[in-house]
Symmetry: C2
């Protein structure tokens, strides 16, 4: 590739384009705190460290700027703009969007989707006892996916996914608490009931409260970890 040695954690696997690879890499470095807020990024240096040219890096940085994780001052430089306050706001954004999705889902859900939500809730209840956290995470995701599908809101879904800042490890850490697992299932059951009853206002409120409550849990976790 370039003239320099690639310093990537792993050799740049060509699973996807370089720019997407780099985007994920830098984004994760920012939200996980390895790149601190306020830090300046040098395009050439970073590119050569990654063993790539500046072109795909610039594109990745543009996307991160659009997401509000870095800020570019023309002819000056690129600075990481991410801190605890923004992490909290991203959680609030997720709550706002996810609850709007739940609202739409309550208007448009069909019987098949209701059945699938209920089936997933039964599995979650079972998962509570076997304490299979990995399975619970997967079930949670599938549950939210059914709601997303019911809402028919592709754009909101996409916008929502951009507000995620917690990786698998963080999720695992939070759901390792007995009480959190229990609460999550309870809240999911209430949300499913509201959607099944076609009550948009209730579904929206329950979803918002759920995302904010569990989000706060994540926030204190990572601030405690301090990485």
């Amino acid at each position: 590739m370039g003239g320099e040695d690639a310093l990537l954690p792993v050799e740049p696997v060509f699973l996807k384009s370089l720019r997407d690879h780099v985007y994920s890499l830098v984004r994760d470095a920012i939200v996980s705190g390895r790149l601190k807020g306020g830090e300046k990024l040098n395009e050439r240096q970073l590119a050569s460290q990654l063993g790539i040219s500046t072109t795909p890096l610039k594109e990745a940085l543009r996307v991160l700027e659009a997401e509000g994780l870095v800020r570019s001052e023309p002819r000056r430089g690129i600075y990481v703009t991410f801190n605890a306050a923004q992490a909290e706001e991203m959680m609030l954004a997720r709550a706002a969007i996810e609850s709007m999705i739940a609202r739409q889902a309550a208007k448009r859900v069909n019987e098949d989707q209701i059945a699938r939500m209920r089936a997933l809730l039964v599995e979650m209840r079972a998962g509570l006892e076997t304490v299979d956290v990995l399975q619970l995470i997967a079930l949670n995701e599938r549950f939210h996916n059914v709601i997303h599908e019911a809402s028919g809101c592709d754009y909101l879904r996409r916008l929502q996914s951009g507000q995620n800042i917690y990786n698998h490890t963080a999720r695992l850490s939070v759901l390792s608490e007995e009480r959190e697992r229990f609460l999550a299932v309870e809240e999911h059951e209430a949300i499913a009931s509201a959607i099944a009853a076609r009550e948009p206002d209730l579904a929206e409120r329950l979803m918002r409260d759920h995302v904010i409550r569990s989000g706060e849990k994540h926030l204190v976790r990572v601030s405690q970890a301090g990485n």
Copy 2:
């Protein structure tokens, strides 16, 4: 600049970077309907039409992709993904985020900000009678800005601004209706009262309903215009 003639509507003014200029240009072309949904974009052709190289264009397209206005299929091409359904979802996104901002504002607003909201409302009432639509638009923006400031949510504010698809002309068109002007002021007064009373739930609901109602108005306008 490039070897070709610049085909930009106006010669590329260097008010800001080319990529920002091009970004605005292409974004406006998409949301205004000059670039139809599904249409394929050829990077080189578009770049030469604009009289620029592909580098800043690629960056602009990356941002548009992050916003969900175009979709890039690796090694295949870039396609415009925007239609009436997405326009409606962007309006819903704006409602979701703006109402979350109003919620936060109701928690954090101070007396000075309340006073400024009320002063603006008085001006709006006056503007109703003089039918100065331009001034009303400006006042509306300032009113929302006070709420944004009261919320203290910079990230949400930024995210919100990304959901705007209506230009000045569209706003002017909607507020040219007598009834719409009246409704808007009424709703703004209710929202201000809820925030001043520190009632987050009420403020959120009123703001959501306001954005959705006036948003639907915009949507039918542009679909009627069909440009």
